[in-house]
Symmetry: C2
Subunit: 344 residues, 2 copies
């Protein structure tokens, strides 16, 4: 079963012309049937559909895209699917795009180096897409100093206002405040913070909002520990926190790091929430089954995905952009990892 015909050309599927010939109609009539136009006689329609089935015809989307001037496809640049948030957002974007009749073109950035990012962007320039959603942390964009191809609509899912593109993201500020005030409300003197990588805008926002909330309440601001979103980094930071008896409440910038922190606390025999209360951020499915089940800030990934797709499609069709950044509210999910401050 060779993939080339006798002339050495790549074998192609049947085209409209083939279907037309078999059904004894013109190509245009086949086109009308394929596109569900109603001005075709029922008998003719049946004949054409039978011919399509017999030949295994499927419309050539390249020709269609060329003809129509649009791909009905959006590119999504992702760095890696290891982080829960990215994965979940991608899922939501894919769903929203499909519902809106757009296909998803996944463009992975192969590694963290600038050249890889640049590379992904230039690959993207050649991709069959009408617009792009960027799901990598925008700082990386900065460092790579890349210009996207001019005229390609773009939406960034991140928490920076530094870009010329529309932005959609969880309201990090509000979420972090929620977490911090929850802990203060339980009577803790102050709240420690295990933050995400300094290069992340989202992590930066969460950290700043945590700090602002403490100051608003006239509390002392303890030193920040930085992780890199992984459970391992949370564990390592946790080993330092666990030995500090002053620590009674920690706001962790994501659930994965919180898991590592919980492990470190267990290893040092510190009870959660008896000795230390912990709040995470994200609300992964697993968080409800951590030991103890984790109190956390739930991000609404579905809305983030839907809103970014909507914004992109609007941009594609109307050329609109430069809206205000869209912030999607987060909410607190109270479980067993937080409790009243211990008596001294």
């Amino acid at each position: 079963m060779p993939a080339e015909d006798s002339a050495g050309r790549r074998r192609r599927g049947p085209s409209m012309a083939d279907v037309a010939r078999l059904a004894g109609v013109s190509g245009q009539t086949v086109s009308r049937v394929a596109n569900d136009r109603n001005n075709v006689d029922a008998v003719t329609r049946d004949r054409v559909q039978a011919a399509m089935r017999q030949l295994g015809y499927r419309p050539n989307s390249a020709a269609r895209a060329l003809r129509n001037g649009e791909y009905r496809s959006i590119g999504v640049i992702v760095f890696e699917l290891h982080s829960f948030g990215t994965t979940r957002t991608l899922d939501a974007i894919a769903t929203a795009a499909t519902i809106s009749g757009y296909a998803i073109n996944l463009v992975p950035v192969l590694d963290v180096t600038q050249s890889a990012v640049t590379n992904a962007f230039s690959r993207l320039g050649e991709q069959a897409v009408d617009g792009v959603i960027i799901l990598i942390e925008a700082h990386t964009l900065d460092e790579a100093g890349v210009r996207l191809p001019h005229g390609l609509p773009v939406v960034v899912v991140d928490s920076s206002a530094h870009y010329d593109y529309p932005i959609v993201d969880t309201d990090q500020r509000q979420g972090a405040r929620l977490a911090t005030e929850h802990l203060l409300g339980l009577g803790h003197a102050t709240v420690w913070h295990l933050g995400g990588p300094p290069t992340s805008f989202a992590a930066d926002r969460r950290r700043r909002s945590w700090e602002a909330t403490l100051l608003d309440h006239g509390r002392e601001v303890p030193p920040v520990l930085d992780g890199d979103w992984t459970a391992t980094s949370g564990y390592e930071a946790g080993r330092r926190l666990a030995t500090n008896a002053e620590v009674t409440a920690v706001f962790v910038a994501n659930d994965q790091m919180a898991l590592g922190l919980l492990r470190a606390l267990h290893e040092h025999g510190r009870d959660v929430p008896g000795d230390v209360s912990v709040v995470g951020f994200d609300d992964m499915e697993e968080s409800a089954h951590f030991w103890p089940p984790l109190t956390t800030i739930r991000q609404n990934f579905v809305d983030v995905g839907r809103l970014s797709v909507d914004a992109l499609i609007r941009e594609i069709h109307a050329g609109e952009h430069h809206h205000e950044p869209v912030a999607v509210a987060a909410k607190l999910v109270h479980r067993s990892s937080t409790g009243p401050a211990p008596h001294r």
Copy 2:
């Protein structure tokens, strides 16, 4: 900034002709520069590249695909990105495809109903792809009774031999045996099993191999509990296992359910691994930080992704298929959730 020109047509980006006009050369020369052919004078090349930059030219991939008869893109059908294994495999596929110069077209199945699957498949028929990798559990395929468009190369990532397509997957049999024998080797009289959904071929393989291993060693085969891959289902099954004093060793079909089981065991005051040993399957990043850190079977998702892409590309180019199913070896990662059987 309207998206249509004065004639009401969708605005398109500049074409080769525009670049050619600006650079004062023919379209063909622009094509040669765009494709990095070497038979272009250095001076001319520079002039053309300058014109490209000035106009923001990017090649029209629809025209290119039409002309060349291939899209250089592969479709990946996924059901949902909630499960760790799917996500990780997708990541590996995307990476492998990119390295091989193929783009990824992500086609989500919106829900579990047959019509949604059928729908996804027919959408796929219209997608600009040269081949398809199916990442949903193949039983769903069965139920939907769908025929993929004839002539579209397909690879299935699953553990069934029921399909007419090449198959790549983790060696479930070997992985499950590894887990079971690890527990028997620690002196446990027998091993209980918390399995995945009965509709999953992978779950079925793991269950059968666990059973066969027990029988090989002349052990009693306890009743199986079924989950649905989620931590919540693991927790629910775990509540039943935790009250049964006979249970000293459990092989869980994935890490997420194992997490739920661990929680249930903690809630019932059963020590892990003192009273009960637990082995998972997958080795998600988080598993190393469960409490206690989880002994588990590590799947080699990178190889699964790479091999399925390779198989698909081979099929696309040579029309080869019907190879033997490819099974990728798994390995045991020993952590703290398993230990010697308790003395009675």
